[in-house]
Amino acid sequence: MNAQQIMDYIKRHCQADDWTITINEKDSHETRFAQNAITQHIAGNNIEVALQVAFDDKTGVGNINQTDEESLQRLIGTAEKMAKLNQPDPEFMPSCPTAVLPAVDNCSETTLALSPQEMVEIVRRSISSGEKLDAQVSGMTEKHWFHVTQCTANGFFGEYDKTEFGHSITMKKDAVETKVAYSSKDYSRFDLNHWLDKLDSQFSSLSAPQVFEPGRIAVILRPAAAQEFFGYMAWMMSRRYADEGFTPYTDKLGTDLFGSNFSMKSTLKDDELCAPPFYHGGIPSGEIDWVKNGKLLALATDRFWAKKTDSQPSSMYNIFIPGEGTSEEDMMKIAGRGIIINHLWYIRSVDMKSGEFTGMTRDGVLYFEDGAIRRAVNNMRWNEIPHQATRRILASGIPALISPDVKVPAMLVNDFNFVDKTIF
């Protein structure tokens, strides 16, 4: 059965007072390489049918990946039985009603048309580039197609397609190790030569790393590192967790908690960024300013908490952080001396209430002084509170697409807190 037939079947047979049907379809091809050879190579498609039902305020959810009548009947029976056996949910919310959804464009025909042979060719050229330098090359080339369909007993219906193309390359030789990665809905915007040149440039800049002692110093977080740094902060920006006293955002809505040159939003208006037309089971996506010029304006809110607090439900469905367009060269002049970071790694919360995180640098660390890069240095551990760090932003670059859902600029952050170093 296709998605429409599945929904029609469930609608006909489901006896529950309320229901939501969600169908996720996926088709993927993934080519993984390491040590200058393909090590894994995977293809296949899948479908997941989720049925959430309610009898009064008692709920149950079933998921399956088979779509024959017998399986769908079992799905309905399982979800309904679970709901009947369940206890009432004091936070129950009825399914969403009909809504007018915004138009979105998350799909690329070029990505869909990319063949497995072309993907292997991308891998071959990436490996050849490393072999010229006698380096080991690893990475992954991937393409995906997703289709999401959702409908409810109260009249909501929504669906959208999404494509993703990704190519990452890590190059390693002796003590030098660095990485570039492209990830977008659109393969047609991918220029392998550009990324190989960038990889070569990073690789050559990192030769003979020298020991650098940790401490507070200015850093230039290149876009991927900035995304990793602020992405974890964004994950903690929940209205409920703030209201209940668990995070640094308690009682901070409407205040200048962040630095005045920091803003963050979710948007439908950037043609590179993917955005779902709806979230939370049927809330239409719209423009959401989370932080504007340092002021905290919104926190992600589910439908129940929105009703309880008389606010709007919201979801950080993508992340856009605007930048001022300062070049890396100008950032080095502004700071005088500091560290340039390509990526961050293994970021984990240290203390939820203060919003403190820890992590490592990765894939290349450079020391600059007097406006120029001086040498490569060892990786370091940092402990930082990202929302406080936004108060130390001295400059930012042009926003760059890091993944189909995230676009951020490089950031120059003063007094970044390095607390330890590693030996490579």
Binding site: Q35, I38, T39, P90, R124, Y346, M352
Partner: protein, 480 residues
């Protein structure tokens, strides 16, 4: 099942050097109770098959959820085509596979009561009682109960002639109380990381009593002081905490695929390179780590891995020296090993199996030693219980760990509770600083059910274990 034969025959007809098919049905029930609200009550069934073809020194893998003869043949042919594409980009003659013989076997995780057969009402009633118990304490602002039940049924066949019928299952209750007090918020969690056993384990735990304990400890923790400036002192780590420490600093560095650089682009590589085998002082002489996929109630315990290799038990670190890795049929020959240690595991039918950490545990001390005696023998240190923040570099050298509950030790006594404690160390400093491990009476297993690795990402599961152990002269301090 006829589909096993169809896949194997089709692969051989297509010229496969080796092929296997894994038909896998995963059934899981996840119940998430936030305070008194059931946020998720999900019953999930995922059924399909993955076909792996090894041809001309390279792999191809295709998966499908469609069960008919044509779909199985098409999927097998697709795996063969992908293997041919892979073989266009190989090093030399490509990969080789460690020799293995054929097996016909059946395995079932021993359970008395299958948790999936226990009624939802009984589970939810227990969970509500636990959360109510925590919320009855003044100052407890949030109670969370996460219950995960999982069963994986696999039929495996390979061109070697192997036919396996394997069913494994586990259950994992996780309970967290969060306290708010004077502008701070701190949590305390009961989580043993899951066990491969039945509902009888849940009944033996007295979770309501556990709820009282963690609620009370969350309140102690939120009112506790911080440790202040970092300096070197002794650490005593409980088995639950050590489970995570050994996972990150011993388990991952000794996965042979990481050692070979196969995870360099994402999860990272390993400092524990092959020339160190048999001579590298990974830990002090009392440090002995076993890889053991035969461990009773272990999450990685199965009769065979997804290469069709039998479960084994072996020293990974012996008397402090790096002894061997966890390996698979395609990684073992890369360093001249003649057989795999049976560590190839996939999460779902649509995942290609990858080199995984086995059940891995620190052997208990051989001399009688209780935790109380260990604390009494410590002048200046911190005792850490449970898991908290954890972060380690991509070579698995430098790390920083937190914990879930902390006590300061002075002159052999627990003198005050603490919060926000962090310690920093690295390999090989940390395991060489181990100067005491309590004896086998205090050995406890703790599972990990969410070990993230691979591209596309997979979540592995395995069990770790230890008795409380002491580490001298470690950098310990408070967070910012």
């Amino acid at each position: 099942m006829k589909y096993l034969d169809i896949a194997i025959e089709t692969a051989l007809a297509q010229g496969a050097g080796y092929a296997d098919i894994r038909i896998q049905r995963d059934t899981s029930q996840v119940i998430y109770l936030l305070n008194r609200s059931i946020k998720h009550s999900i019953y999930d069934v995922e059924h399909g098959y993955g076909i792996r073809v090894f041809k001309d020194g390279a792999w191809g893998f295709a998966h499908s959820n469609r069960f008919d003869d044509k779909a199985v043949m098409d999927t097998t042919r697709r795996a063969c085509e992908i293997a041919s594409l892979s073989s266009q980009v190989k090093k030399g003659a490509g990969l080789t596979l460690a020799p293995e013989r054929s097996y016909i076997a059946t395995y079932r995780t021993p359970v008395v009561t299958d948790p999936l057969d226990v009624s939802l009402r009984e589970k939810v009633d227990l969970m509500l009682e636990v959360n109510r118990t925590m919320l009855n304490y003044d100052g407890i602002r949030q109670a969370v109960f996460y219950l995960i039940i999982h069963k994986s049924e696999k039929l495996f066949a390979s061109t070697l002639g192997t036919r396996l019928d394997l069913t494994t299952q586990f259950i994992d209750p996780m309970i967290t109380a969060t306290a708010v007090y004077e502008g701070d918020s701190q949590s305390r969690t009961f989580d043993e990381g899951g066990r491969a056993t039945g509902w009888e384990w849940i009944q033996s735990l007295d979770l309501t009593d556990k709820a009282k304990q963690i609620a009370e400890e969350a309140l102690i923790k939120v009112k506790a002081e911080t440790l202040g400036e970092e300096r070197r002192r002794a650490l005593i780590l409980d088995p639950n905490h050590l489970g995570l420490t050994m996972h990150e600093s011993v388990g991952h560095p000794t996965e042979l695929d990481r050692v070979l650089g196969w995870e360099a682009d994402f999860a990272g590589i390993s400092f524990a390179t092959p020339e160190k085998l048999g001579n590298y002082q990974y830990g002090s002489p009392i440090v002995n780590f076993m890889g053991d996929n035969t461990l009773a109630e272990g999450l990685a315990t199965n009769a065979f891995d997804d290469d069709g290799v039998p479960a084994q038990k072996w020293y990974i670190i012996k008397d402090g020296i790096l002894n061997e890795y966890g390996s698979t049929r395609d990684t073992a020959p890369q360093i001249g090993l003649t057989h795999s240690r049976g560590c190839n595991r996939a999460t779902s039918y649509y995942n290609m199996p990858i080199n995984r950490i086995p059940n891995l545990y620190l052997l208990p001390g051989t001399k009688p030693l209780t935790p109380a005696e260990l604390i009494a023998d410590t002048d200046d240190g911190v005792y850490i219980q449970g898991r908290g923040s954890f972060s380690i570099d991509q070579h698995r050298l430098n790390f920083q760990f937190g914990g879930d509950f902390f006590w300061e030790i002075k002159d052999g006594k627990l003198v005050r509770p603490l919060k926000k404690v962090l310690y920093k160390s690295c390999n090989p400093e940390f395991w060489n600083a181990c100067d005491a491990v309590c004896d086998e009476r205090f050995f406890r297993p703790f599972g990990v059910i969410n070990c993230g690795k691979g591209q596309p990402g997979q979540t592995g599961k395995m069990t770790h274990g230890a008795a409380p152990a002491r580490f001298r002269n470690i950098r310990v301090g408070g967070s910012q």
